[in-house]
């Protein structure tokens, strides 16, 4: 069964390479990118599977046990568009195309000066021949880095101006995870790729790591009464746990000024750094103020991009001249 599925997947991957991707690449003199393109097709197909998985498994759960019932799902459509752009590799491909030459230049420069960037395997050589263990170590390190990326996106005013797009959705669903400003995607991609390069994540595992992270993130945003149990909620970020991160009104307390529950996969980072809140109820989501104009939750794709850029520019101006810090005390900054 698994063999025949793998066989079908590989066949489709090869067929797409041969008939869709390879001809233009060769015609453009970009034949050396064929192997990378083959990996890119794998990413695309994995994205198709992941969207299929999300729709067939998570969507019925949303319909079965919704936290909120809405008269219509019009406001969700833009998030579906974001998800397609993200999961099918269009946004990641653009981010990759922009960042790959930068990383190659930095890495190349280092090596020309006899500096080979150290990797985690230099410290733990046993990981050289234990890819599964190495995968788990990479996942742990990347999740730690993602916690801090996420937290910084709430603390730094210019970053929050962009990240607020993600939080502006009042109808949070499994599709909300990909609702991000394109500039934030670029910054997030740079962050993730930098850490991956620093740790020494091989490209093959990079796709797998992304898939794990994205799948859990899909699940975390789901509009469903879904509990992982008392123990499970402390092990993995659950929909309830993450819902408090999106809460319209944050839990009381000074330490939650910039938000709570920043963890992407493992709640332990919130516990370690004092940003954890375990609420039992399921609060409404959205922004009660913040850098975006009123009604931003209903904006379409391009309008959101424009509003995000305006808020970003305002946040970069010196304090006192901007409208970037309009959120009332106690309301959501994240």
């Amino acid at each position: 069964m698994i063999d025949s599925l793998t066989e079908s997947f590989v066949f489709l991957q090869g067929w797409l390479l041969d008939h869709v991707v390879q001809p233009p690449l060769l015609a453009l003199g970009m034949g050396s990118h064929l192997e990378m393109a083959f990996d890119g097709i794998q990413f695309f197909l994995a994205g198709v599977l992941q969207i299929g998985f999300a729709y067939l498994l998570l969507r019925p759960i949303e319909a079965w046990r919704p936290v909120e019932v809405w008269p219509d799902r019009r406001a969700v459509r833009v998030d579906v568009l974001y998800s397609l752009l993200d999961r099918l590799g269009i946004v990641p491909l653009a981010v990759f195309a922009l960042l790959a030459p930068v990383f190659a230049f930095i890495d190349g420069w280092l090596r020309l000066h006899d500096i080979i960037p150290p990797q985690i395997e230099d410290i733990f050589p046993a990981l050289d021949t234990r890819p599964l263990l190495a995968f788990l170590v990479y996942l742990l390190l990347l999740d730690f880095a993602e916690y801090w990326r996420h937290r910084l996106s709430h603390i730094l005013r210019w970053w929050w101006a962009l990240h607020a797009i993600h939080h502006s959705q009042r109808r949070m669903t499994l599709w909300t995870d990909s609702r991000n400003h394109l500039l934030e995607d670029l910054i997030g991609g740079f962050w993730f790729a930098s850490v991956a390069l620093l740790v020494g994540v091989p490209p093959g595992q990079f796709i797998g790591l992304l898939l794990v992270v994205k799948t859990v993130e899909n699940l975390a945003h789901v509009n469903a009464r879904l509990s992982f149990g008392r123990f499970g909620e402390r092990l993995l970020v659950s929909p309830r746990y993450h819902r408090w991160h999106h809460a319209l009104h944050l839990p009381p307390g000074r330490r939650y000024r910039h938000g709570c529950n920043f963890a992407v996969l493992l709640p332990i980072w919130d516990q370690l750094f004092g940003t954890q809140y375990h609420g039992q109820d399921l609060p409404p989501c959205g922004l009660a103020g913040g850098p975006l104009p009123p009604g931003a939750e209903r904006s379409g794709f391009w309008r959101q991009q424009w509003e995000g850029l305006q808020a970003f520019a305002a946040a970069l101006r010196p304090r006192g001249h901007d409208a970037g810090e309009r959120q009332p005390e106690g309301s959501h900054a994240g």
Binding site: Q13, G14, L112, D128, T129, L133
Partner: protein
């Protein structure tokens, strides 16, 4: 009333870790007739029994191994680990790891000069060619080689190493004694495999972009002929008779062409699907083994019937294959 205490985490943890290490670790066995296939995306070697064609073991190697080659004395098989910055040495008889040489920057293709003095590694990703002392793998020179230096060939006197530059459509000649770039010349688009003809007069360059093998009179630095093979002509492997080379045409519908260097023409062609890439010929000349890069297989071609004999499932993105019982490499 008795209480059953749950096993403490402290007692269970070492056992769980040991289980994990076991599960993540290597599975291998010793073999009589051993072929080794290198799976780039998995970072593994598949061990194949050359008699039964069964995969008998799998070895975790490193991150992104792309190419393998024997040492000149055939006592070791070197796997170049691009993303791990390592060379890993294996016993080609048993598949046992012998040693690791670290701090070899991004080795993609590797090669020894015929006089065994130089060891050369191309860094496709970072546009570099590194020249090492073959005795101890001490770095001698690191040369910028834009763009995407890929395969390499040497002249018989070990005066030059010739490297294909895939993205700039060129061949670069590097003087080994001086470790300087001697010259660069344009060739057909996306050059990949490159070999020296048996008479040491011509370089044969596989052009993926044009689907030809280009014949270069390297001393005069001029292209003398283009021999059409098929789309995405990629790699060349000697038949071992001092005259013919196999050319892999790396498409899904793929094929392998047999090139005669005396007539400079294609004399045979076999259908080998799955993106044939690296190749090796059995010593008796009856079989050609090729990695099918996009099909997770090693393809075995029966050179007597000239048909695909069987496919051996291996790992992801197989990129190299080797066995000791091979035909000559010229």
């Amino acid at each position: 009333m008795t209480h059953r205490h749950p096993a403490s985490l402290a007692r269970l943890l070492p056992r769980l870790l040991a289980l994990l290490v076991f599960l993540c670790g290597n599975q291998m066995a010793a073999h009589a007739g051993l072929a080794i296939a290198l799976n780039s995306a998995d970072g593994t070697l598949s061990l194949i029994d050359t008699d039964s064609y069964k995969v008998t073991g799998k070895i975790n190697v490193c991150k992104e191994p792309h190419h393998l080659m024997p040492t000149p004395d055939d006592k070791s098989l070197i796997v170049a680990c691009a993303a791990s910055n390592q060379l890993v040495f294996y016993d080609p008889l048993t598949g046992q790891e012998q040693r690791r040489v670290r701090d070899i920057s991004d080795p993609y293709q590797i090669g020894f000069s015929p006089n065994r003095k130089w060891f050369v590694a191309t860094s496709l990703r970072l546009d570099r060619v590194d020249i090492y002392d073959a005795a101890d793998f001490r770095l001698i020179a690191r040369l910028p080689a834009p763009k995407t230096p890929s395969h390499m060939a040497f002249d018989d006197a070990s005066q030059f190493v010739f490297v294909t530059l895939q993205d700039s459509n060129e061949v670069m000649a590097i003087s080994l004694p001086t470790q300087k770039v001697a010259w660069v010349m344009p060739v057909a688009p996306t050059p990949a495999g490159i070999v020296m003809s048996p008479d040491n007069r011509h370089l044969l360059v596989a052009s993926m972009g044009e689907g030809v093998v280009e014949v270069i009179e390297w001393r005069a630095r001029r292209s003398v002929r283009k021999i059409p093979t098929a789309t995405a002509a990629h790699n060349l492997q000697p038949k071992g008779d001092g005259r013919h080379f196999y050319v892999s045409n790396r498409t899904i519908d793929g094929s392998i062409s047999l090139l005669d260097t005396q007539t400079m023409s294609v004399v045979e062609k076999y259908d080998v699907p799955g993106g044939p890439d690296d190749m090796m010929v059995r010593a008796d000349g009856k079989e050609l083994w090729a990695t099918a890069r996009f099909a997770r297989k090693v393809q075995v071609v029966d050179l007597v019937s000239k048909q695909l004999k069987l496919s051996i499932p291996v790992g992801s993105s197989p990129h190299g294959v080797f066995f000791l019982n091979h035909a000559g490499l010229r």
